[in-house]
Amino acid sequence: MKLSFSKGRKAPAPLDELGGRADGALAILLEDGERVHMSASRVTSALRYFLARVQAGTGLPRRLAITSALHGEGVTYVTRTLAAIIAYDTDSTVASIDLNWRRPREQEPDEVRPSTLVDAVERGAPIESILRETTNPRLFLVDSGEVALARRPGMARSRGLQRVINQISERVDHVLLDVPPVLASSDAILLTQLADAYAFVVRHGTTASTQVEMALEELRGMEGCGIILNRADSNVPPRLRRMLGA
């Protein structure tokens, strides 16, 4: 069957074997072809610039935690995009570890769940089983798994988690930790401490400066790479912005 697109709309360029597109957009595709992430070219351009700046400064840390003040700032999106960029642009291997624990739910009788970080921490699942491979052989995803609310502080403090993170770090060149919001979770600070440095995501036009200040105060003492202003779209006419030097 011949596919047809609506009039005036161009068909998107095809993805290459690593999940990249000619215009710079990047996707994360699992081995079975499932697309778990897609970032537009302008997003990847901005985050490539971020990585270049970090590289030019202190250098990209082996373990980088990405966090924010509140939910909905786009931490997971930024983390996965950064991981995809590093894996696509360099010969380094990267693992994106999700540390946003999910609420436990009942498993269906015939449901087969992939191994998660929790399985490795609590049930000794091998590291290879929790590193989900993607079409880019240098990029791995680690699912957080289910942890009850009451057990989350203990999980964040557990040596098992540290051990698993260390083991993953030994397997890959860079580990990106997708950490819960600092003001929404008491575990965020402990989880951030598992990394060498952190990057802080602020959503443009949404996060209050007081909340950012409070969150940064909580993270004081830890190495900060810098701040990422996410979804920063201005409706101010470009000419006006240029006049004001923005």
């Binding site: 351009s45 901005a46 270049a52 590289q55 950012v212 200040e213 701040i227 202003l229 409706n235």
Partner: protein
């Protein structure tokens, strides 16, 4: 990893900031913000206000739109009014005093300004306004409730023009009323000033008038007494007794004195009248009515006034909209420009990620 894939790999390695490819910086569209000099408080405040406005422009433009619409409605529904104006020349003195440089002083103000202010001040008083209403013949309209004193008060206005000219105008819904009120205001004011300036002379005239009348009465009485005495003591050719002669002499003297007193009183009365007339003439010269108000044939409030009304409402709308935007920008504590982070927290914004939805 296959060799083909490895060939595509880009090795970042440690690079200096100056080595960042310009196209990478440009692609973000935010390089100037990050690398430029720190922005001033005013610029940041302005940017924040603009960001706030452009986020919901329709909401912030609503006061402007509503007030402009209100202004247009007001201009379209404005009642037709007619204006009549008379012109008064308020010179500082009489022609002679101006020539001889003996004009009374108005201080640092021009005669037209002082006179216009005096008229407007007088219009605030009930007595003067009542005089104007009577002069204009609008008492019946007041009593019938067609007009109110407040409406009349607000309809009349005096305005200085140049050094000496004062324009007194009245604006009402009826052209004849406007003419009558403007004329009445002018004449009432002239009458009021004249009344004030010749008050002394009038008192003198009244006083000498009374004195003259008294003197005349006394003369008549003296004449009557002498005449009666002469009737009672007719001249028969016989030498009258000394006492009679003395009485006749006394009565004749009294009559003569009464005549002299009357003559003096009349002279003084004439002088007083002359002084009063001179004072009145001076007032007439100082306040000359150049133009009497005429009945206006066309209503005021043409296109220019309508445009002015709409313009005023628009300016109010702009002020209100600007106030709303500024208030919203102040209240909204969210981070809208990267330099807010740098200035508030002293941290560098290393990445400005645009929204993926716009791609």
């Amino acid at each position: 990893m296959s060799n083909a894939r490895r060939e595509r790999v880009v090795h970042y390695g440690p690079v200096a900031a100056s080595q960042i490819p310009p196209n990478v910086a440009r692609s973000t569209g935010r390089a100037s913000t990050i690398e430029g000099p720190p922005e001033g408080l005013t610029r940041r405040a302005l940017l924040n206000v603009l960001e706030t406005f452009y986020r919901r422009p329709i909401v912030y433009l609503l006061p402007l739109v509503l007030l402009t619409a209100l202004g247009a409605l007001t201009a379209l529904n404005a009642d037709k009014e007619y204006r009549s104006a008379g012109v008064l020349n308020a010179s500082a003195g009489s022609l002679l005093s101006e020539i001889t440089d003996q004009s009374p002083s108005y201080g640092f103000e021009r005669p037209s300004t002082v006179t216009a202010r005096n008229i407007n001040n007088l219009l605030r008083t009930a007595v003067f306004l009542s005089t104007v209403i009577d002069e204009a013949g609008l008492r019946d309209e007041i009593e019938l409730g067609v007009l109110t004193t407040d409406e009349i008060r607000s309809s009349i206005n005096a305005k200085g023009s140049g050094d000496t000219l004062v324009s007194v105008s009245a604006t009402t819904a009826v052209p004849e009323w406007s003419q009558a009120l403007a004329g009445a205001a002018i004449h009432s004011f002239v009458g009021y000033v004249k009344g004030q300036d010749i008050a002394d002379a009038t008192v003198r005239v009244d006083t000498y008038q009374k004195l003259t009348e008294d003197s005349r009465t006394r003369l008549e009485e003296a004449e009557a007494a002498l005449e009666q005495f002469l009737i009672d003591n007719p001249d028969t050719g016989v030498v009258r007794p000394v006492l009679v002669e003395l009485e006749a002499g006394r009565l004749a003297t009294a009559q003569r004195r009464a005549e002299e007193a009357l003559q003096e009183a009349e002279t003084n009365l004439t002088d007083a009248r002359l002084a009063r007339d001179v004072a009145a003439t001076v007032v007439d010269r100082q306040l000359r009515i150049l133009d009497e108000p005429e009945v206006s044939g066309s209503p005021v409030g043409g296109l220019r006034d309508k445009v002015m009304t709409v313009g005023i409402f628009m300016v109010l709308g702009v002020i209100l909209s600007a106030a709303f935007v500024t208030l919203a920008a102040v209240v909204d504590r969210s981070i809208r420009i990267p330099s807010d982070i740098s200035s508030k927290f002293g941290l560098e914004v290393l990445g400005v990620v645009p929204s993926a939805r716009r791609s």
